[in-house]
């Protein structure tokens, strides 16, 4: 049996082995051009932000923006424990000696999430200075104290026996924290004393509730699930750039997209359309696409509204996000590449490939069309830019479909 120092060493070994495992994928990501695109985006953001700082409109909702941006960073404390399923057999007998192991995870989690919070706070600070409730460095101190409390709360919630309790507590905590941050940022509306009382009461209320609830001493199942979830998410991101080892997908029902599945006609020629559409809707492939479309839509709107680069900014932004979403939707082709049923179902390889190309093309059309819609502020003029954008909407999915077809043909020849 490992001694306490042994478990700490085990933690470091696992962390090291995880780092080693992901380094090649990071390399592929770096070579993909994504960092360059992100840097360009960063530059664009800085440019817009500096312009805003020079002349902040009088009614600009600084406090609300601050609360919306800072609350998630304050509340979200992911915990990497590097635990595996087999640990239930091999490590569980020495659960009482695992505090050192867990401490390493908590320190890492708190350090990383605090640094991220501080980094964002630093960016927000020049805007905050111009707000109504500026209290100087004390605001940073309050956020740090709250961050520590949230890390503690996150752990207590993980220990709660029932999932629905955890879910409810998390929502309540996020709402209370949002209220606290907003109150500190809006000092003119809330009196100073009232804000202090509210903050202390909210924290005390949560603390008391955690003390009263039934908890497990070491939430093995939850920590292992959280670890698996993180790994899956990470690998589905790396899957954009290279062929990543098979990881079981994260499955979510996404009822709001279920109507798409129902649209697939019942016929043999749609078998793989049906399968891949469900995969898209329920796994992270679709999840990431949806988030990208929301983000891209917002950016496209902002760029189109400001008529950056005389409207060409919106064209570039649409092209960029079209590329991103089609790269992501393109991972659909490898979702069932090794499924035995491909070789069991009575469907020819040609028909299977045709259906895959068909569904991917359809998804790309829908996603790119949705990305284009928020550029409406510039539809009135700028005919050339509009024509190029429409060409992107119409032609880009076809190009991707042709690329997929050729890739599938090559893969078949290799087989």
């Amino acid at each position: 049996m490992k001694e306490p120092s042994g478990v700490i060493q085990l933690w470091f070994e696992r962390k090291q082995s995880f780092t080693k495992e992901i380094i090649p994928y990071i390399r592929y990501m770096m070579m993909s051009g994504l960092p360059v695109f992100l840097s360009l985006f960063g530059i664009l953001f800085v440019y817009r932000y500096v312009n805003l700082l020079k002349d902040v409109p009088p009614q600009f909702p600084i406090a609300w923006i601050g609360a919306i941006v800072l609350t998630p960073l304050l509340c979200y404390s992911p915990l990497r424990t590097f635990l595996r399923e087999a640990d239930v057999i091999y490590l569980m007998p020495m659960e009482h000696k695992l505090s050192g192991y867990l401490k390493q995870s908590m320190i890492r989690s708190l350090r990383n999430s605090t640094l991220l919070l501080l980094a964002v706070l630093l960016v927000f600070w020049p805007l905050y200075r111009q707000g109504e409730g500026y209290i100087g460095i004390w605001f940073a101190v309050i956020l740090l104290v709250l961050k520590a409390f949230n890390a503690y709360s996150g752990w207590q919630e993980r220990r709660l026996i029932w999932n629905n309790h955890r879910f409810i507590f998390r929502i309540i905590r996020w709402l209370l924290m949002f209220g606290i941050v907003l109150a500190w940022l809006k000092q003119d509306s809330f009196s100073f004393a009232l804000t202090i009382v509210y903050s202390i009461c909210a924290v005390a209320l949560l603390y008391t509730c955690y003390r009263m609830m039934r908890k497990s001493s070491f939430p093995w199942g939850r920590l292992i699930d959280e670890e698996k979830f993180t790994i899956r998410r990470l690998y589905s991101f790396f899957n954009w750039f290279s062929d990543v080892q098979a990881v079981p997908p994260i499955v979510k029902k996404r009822y709001y997209l279920a109507w798409l599945i129902r649209l697939v006609p019942y016929r043999k020629a749609s078998t793989f359309v049906y399968l891949h559409l469900i995969t898209f809707v329920r796994t992270e492939i679709g999840g990431i696409c949806i988030r990208l479309v929301i983000l891209g839509g917002l950016v496209n709107y902002m760029v189109a509204d400001s008529l950056g680069l005389q409207g060409w900014g919106a064209v570039l932004s649409l092209l960029f996000f079209s590329m991103l979403v089609t790269i992501q939707s393109g991972t659909l082709r490898s979702a069932h590449r090794h499924a035995i049923w491909k070789d069991i179902f009575p469907l020819s390889v040609t028909l299977q490939q045709k259906q895959l190309v068909h569904v991917e093309c359809l998804i790309n059309y829908i996603l790119i069309f949705i990305l284009w819609l928020p550029t409406f502020p510039m539809w009135g003029g700028h005919a050339y830019q509009l024509i190029v954008m429409l060409a992107i909407v119409l032609v880009f999915p076809l190009i991707r479909a042709m690329q997929l077809q050729s890739a599938l043909r090559k893969a078949e020849e290799l087989d």
Binding site: P248, P249, V251, K253, I261, Y266, R267, K268, S270, T271, Y274, L275, I278, T279, R282, T283, H336, A339, I340, W341, D343, I344, F345, P346, L347, S348
Partner: protein, 251 residues
């Protein structure tokens, strides 16, 4: 009666240099249920994979309804359904969606699908789980989904590898009842299993494999006779016959 599965001089394995199964011959006719038995590593699953067309044989021929895989892939594959030893489901599909997917792949008419799916869900006590995502099902339930999907397609040959693993007694009863039903309707069944006390009541013939070769075959009576001769004892059950043939002649 028409031959559904014909295997002739079949040899094969994972490496071209080393065969795992050797010169297998078998015929399964319409309405027959054949039990493929043998110890772990005897070559049962390898034989099944060759019949499914998942492995290329070193030599020999496999035909289903007179067609080889090379002659017509779609026709060959539409003639059988397969239940693997370990349930292999698409994690993101619900129970109902799995049934629909299989029915679509096998070209089952929609009305027939709806009616048959309802019957199967009820028979296997899965009606309440029809909307459940596969990733959240227990192993036994996953196995039931595999079995229901296979039964839904109603092909001329069922290839079933260790179907009873993880199934509850009600599930085993439903499966056996359904297999008898499809058998009477004219389908052929090739079933590999270790639960000899159960299969001896349902299979018409048996094939015992050892180290990739058929060491005994025939009806239950033939198997008992061969085992009695081999062990020079009175063998009365398939399990005893199995011991006698594969355990150095001791029943």
């Amino acid at each position: 009666m028409k031959t559904v599965l014909h295997v002739e001089q079949l040899s094969g394995g994972y490496s071209p240099k080393r065969a795992i199964i050797h010169d297998l011959n078998m015929d399964i006719k319409e309405g027959e249920m054949i039990g493929l038995i043998g110890v772990n590593g005897a070559g049962k699953s390898t034989t099944i994979k060759h019949i499914l067309g998942l492995m290329t044989p070193h030599r020999g021929v496999v035909t289903i309804n007179g067609t080889t895989l090379e002659e017509d892939v779609e026709l060959y594959r539409s003639s059988y359904t397969y239940v693997p030893e370990t349930p292999i489901l698409f994690d993101e599909l619900t129970v109902e969606e799995h049934l629909r997917l299989t029915a679509m792949a096998y070209g089952v008419p929609q009305e027939q699908f709806s009616q048959r799916a309802e019957q199967l869900l009820e028979r296997f006590h899965m009606t309440k789980k029809r909307k459940a995502i596969s990733a959240h099902l227990s192993k036994g339930m996953k196995q039931k989904v595999m079995i229901m999907s296979a039964l839904l397609a109603k092909p001329s040959l069922f290839i079933i590898d260790e179907p009873f693993l993880g199934l509850d007694p009600l599930g085993i009863r439903s499966l056996l009842e359904d297999l008898v039903e499809v058998k009477h309707a004219g389908s052929a069944i090739l079933m590999s299993s270790h639960i000899l006390s159960t299969v001896e009541h349902y299979c018409d013939r048996f094939m015992m494999l050892d180290q990739g070769r058929i060491v005994a075959q025939g009806t239950l009576q033939d198997m008992l006779q061969q085992a009695s001769q081999h062990s020079q004892q009175n063998v009365t059950t398939l399990e005893d016959a199995f011991y006698a043939m594969l355990n150095g002649g001791e029943a």
